[in-house]
């Protein structure tokens, strides 16, 4: 156990998508835990299962996807354990948006074009009984939006989504998520659709907010710069599996998994000589027919005998630094 006081624990999660082309094994035995108050990052290429993992936390996986097996425990308070998989639809709905809130990638699509910003915020509060009616919620919406650093919140309450800029829309979406003071905020690539300056503003603001509100943040991104800036613990995902998990400094200093190393080499550095960026050879595997053994082995420069036969376990090499690779599993210690 990495955390003394985890907020969410995921054990051996499998998610499949039943498409016409075949069964996509999108998440293949993912286990991790997030400590209360930390920022936990999921990084990886497009389509590696970051978003699916985050949505699985509140069972938001839609048909044709299905959570095959796995355990998810949520601790709203220290010592109070909730088994997410055993909750009824009604009970899980009470957790969504109240204890666990989401911020999605594209703020302009996350808002219903027919309703005002105030209504969106009020709806979230009214559904969880924080306010008695939508009307009352709209009155309180300005307060919430001020918390989300929306400029001129009193008049924005009555604005429609199309009247706001991208950054303001994202602030409105963050306001919606924060309306009920959630304990865990899941930000799924919150700044992908925004430009760099706004991105910095939003990220600084999330950081501030985390400290002020004692929030736990699960950040999903493919931007390594953002990871270095924001995260406490990082998990690297590849083809539906966590291949490496480490504290952020450790990961940047000493990446162990060949995939993580490849990722690091593909990021431009500020200092040092201008080196040509490297790319990882090959492409992301087809998850309908995933490669046997380690899913990374067809692209791995270090592959050897057991790689294409047996799946490597996620083992702890150093304190809190876990990696799933046969290079380390065999010796059971440092390289």
């Amino acid at each position: 156990m990495r955390c003394k006081d985890p907020i969410i624990v995921v054990k051996d999660l499998y998610v499949n998508f039943y498409t016409y082309a075949g069964v996509v094994k999108a998440i293949n035995g993912v286990s991790f835990e997030i400590c209360r108050g930390e920022t936990y990052c999921l990084v990886g290429e497009t389509g590696c299962g970051k978003s699916v993992t985050s949505r699985a936390l509140t069972r938001l996986i839609k048909s044709p996807g299905r959570i095959e097996k796995g355990e998810i425990y949520f601790y709203p308070e220290p010592g109070k354990k909730i088994d997410i998989m055993k909750l009824s639809d009604e009970e899980i709905r009470k957790i969504r948006g109240y204890d666990i809130a989401y911020i999605f990638q594209d703020p302009s699509a996350s808002l219903d074009p027919l309703y005002t910003i105030g209504y969106h915020v009020a709806e979230t509060m009214a559904f969880h009984g924080v306010v008695q009616s939508i009307k009352e919620g709209i009155k309180k919406a300005a307060q919430v939006l001020r918390l989300a650093k929306m400029p001129d919140p009193e008049s924005r309450v009555r604005a429609f989504p199309h009247e706001l800029s991208g950054g303001m829309k994202q602030r409105a979406v963050i306001g919606m998520s924060l309306a009920n003071r959630p304990k865990l905020l899941i930000a799924d690539e919150p700044t992908t659709a925004l430009d760099v300056t706004i991105q910095a503003q939003i990220m600084n603001f999330l950081k501030e907010l985390k400290e002020k509100e004692n929030l736990t943040l699960l950040l999903i991104t493919h931007n390594m710069g953002l990871v270095a800036e924001m995260c406490d613990t990082v998990a690297v995902m590849y083809a539906g599996e966590i291949v490496e998990e480490a504290p952020v400094e450790e990961l940047f200093k000493n990446p162990l998994h060949p995939y993580t190393r490849g990722l690091m080499r593909a990021v431009p550095k500020h200092v040092g000589k201008n080196v040509t960026l490297e790319s990882i050879p090959g492409t992301v595997p087809n998850l309908i027919f995933p490669p046997p053994g380690c899913r990374f082995h067809p692209r791995c420069p270090y592959r050897f005998d057991p790689c294409d036969k047996k799946r490597p376990p996620l083992i702890e090499i150093e304190k809190n630094h876990k990696v799933a690779c046969w290079l380390y599993a065999k010796e059971g210690g440092k390289r």
Partner: protein, 395 residues
């Protein structure tokens, strides 16, 4: 600023001034109810004006609107302006109006209260039918019957389809398959035949229900403007309405399901789910309002269809029972005397034709105007005209 430019660009005619004044009055009314409304919704007000402007440029749409307006006015005030009642024969006052030609003049003598009219001379403008009743009055009453049936059918039937389509499209999978296959079953069966079957079977049940609940009967009596003595005839009219509810939903279920399939993929639906909003609320507060436009257009196009089907049903003998005035029934009764007493078929037929035509023309134009994309193209086309004129003057 924008409105000033618009005034310079568009050429305004009398009708546009009237519609502009109407929109302005409406905006002022909203502004009074909610101070500040007008400033915040200036764009919306301009858009409404543009909608009316585009509508005024469509002769087809205006013709449709006029026909529909006439129909609705007649349906509402018809029973009051009709010279005679729909069921009473002029023979009660010893007047022979049997198959009277259009324009025949009858004299109602004193001391004849059975007709409920003042003594004097009356002209039967559209002639009399085989029972000596005034055809003009019957057509006026018939408008009320058609109108009430249309409204009641459209208030319920399509919305059954909308609800089923929402559920089917949103849940998908087995639910979708089940609902859509049932919908297919209804669609392969001709609607009119199914409606005949239902309206032939239902009346006995409904008459029992109406006997047990007299207030429901009184409600319908007032709606259809019938004499209290006609209570027994209500069951058949109500069963027509229910039969049409049963056959009128499958098209809407299909339409709505398709739109929901694309609408539910929007992130705002997922965001609502992630915020813990309940499924019913997502369906009715987020998805339904976003797909309402096409449903409304479909409804306006369908109104004519309901009137036609209802007339068809009574023509075939399953709708309105004799003394009740109904366009389809009048044609059926008159068809036996057709070549000689042509007016018995011609005038009610004309009424049906003009009404259905009106609704179709109106619906067609509304479809163009309510869709923002085609509205833009209309606006673009209209804006250009005055500009080329100015250029011509400069040259």
């Amino acid at each position: 600023m924008a409105t000033k430019e618009a005034e310079e660009v568009y050429e305004k005619k009398v009708l546009d001034r009237v519609s502009d004044a109407f929109v302005d009055a409406l905006a002022n009314l909203f502004d009074k109810i909610r101070p500040g409304w007008k400033v915040r919704n200036q764009a919306r007000v301009d858009e409404w004006k543009l909608m009316f402007y585009a509508f005024n440029r469509s002769p087809i749409g205006i013709a449709g609107a006029v026909l529909v307006a006439i129909f609705i006015i007649i349906a509402i005030i018809g029973p009051w302006i009709a010279p005679f009642s729909y069921g009473t024969s002029l023979a009660l006052c010893n007047q022979t109006a049997y198959l009277a030609h259009p324009g025949t003049v009858v004299k109602i003598p004193k001391g004849c209260e059975a007709l409920g009219v003042k003594p004097g001379t009356y002209r039967l403008i559209l002639g009399g039918d085989s029972f000596g009743r005034d055809l003009f009055s019957r057509i006026l009453y018939g408008a009320r019957t058609s109108f009430v049936v249309m409204i009641l059918v459209l208030l319920v039937g399509p919305w059954i389809g909308v609800a089923l389509g929402l559920i089917s499209g949103y849940y998908g999978g087995a639910v979708d398959e089940t609902i859509m296959r049932i919908t297919d079953m209804f669609l392969v069966f001709p609607g009119l035949i199914l409606a005949i079957a239902f309206s032939a079977v239902l009346p006995s049940r409904i008459s029992i229900f109406l006997k047990d609940h007299p207030w429901v009967g009184s409600f319908f009596l007032h709606l259809f403007a019938l004499h209290p003595t006609e209570r027994g005839a209500l069951a058949s009219l109500v069963s027509v309405i229910i039969a049409l509810w049963i056959v009128w939903w499958p098209g809407y279920a299909r339409l709505v399901r398709g739109m929901v399939l694309s609408e539910k993929e929007n992130t705002y639906v997922e965001a609502a789910r992630a915020l813990g909003v309940s499924t019913t609320s997502i369906l009715f507060r987020h998805i339904l309002p976003n797909i309402l436009g096409p449903i409304l257009v479909y409804l306006s196009l369908d109104s004519g269809g309901v009137i036609l089907t209802e007339a068809g049903l009574s023509f075939l003998g399953v709708g309105a029972v004799p003394p009740i005035a109904d366009w389809g029934r009048i044609i059926y009764d008159g068809s036996q005397y057709f070549p000689s007493a042509w007016w018995l078929v011609f005038f009610p037929g004309l009424a049906i034709l003009l009404t259905v035509l009106g609704f179709n023309l109106l619906g067609d134009t509304l479809r163009d105007i309510l869709d923002p994309r085609t509205r833009r193209s209309i606006e673009f086309r209209l804006k250009k005209k005055p500009k080329t004129k100015e250029e011509g003057e400069e040259k």
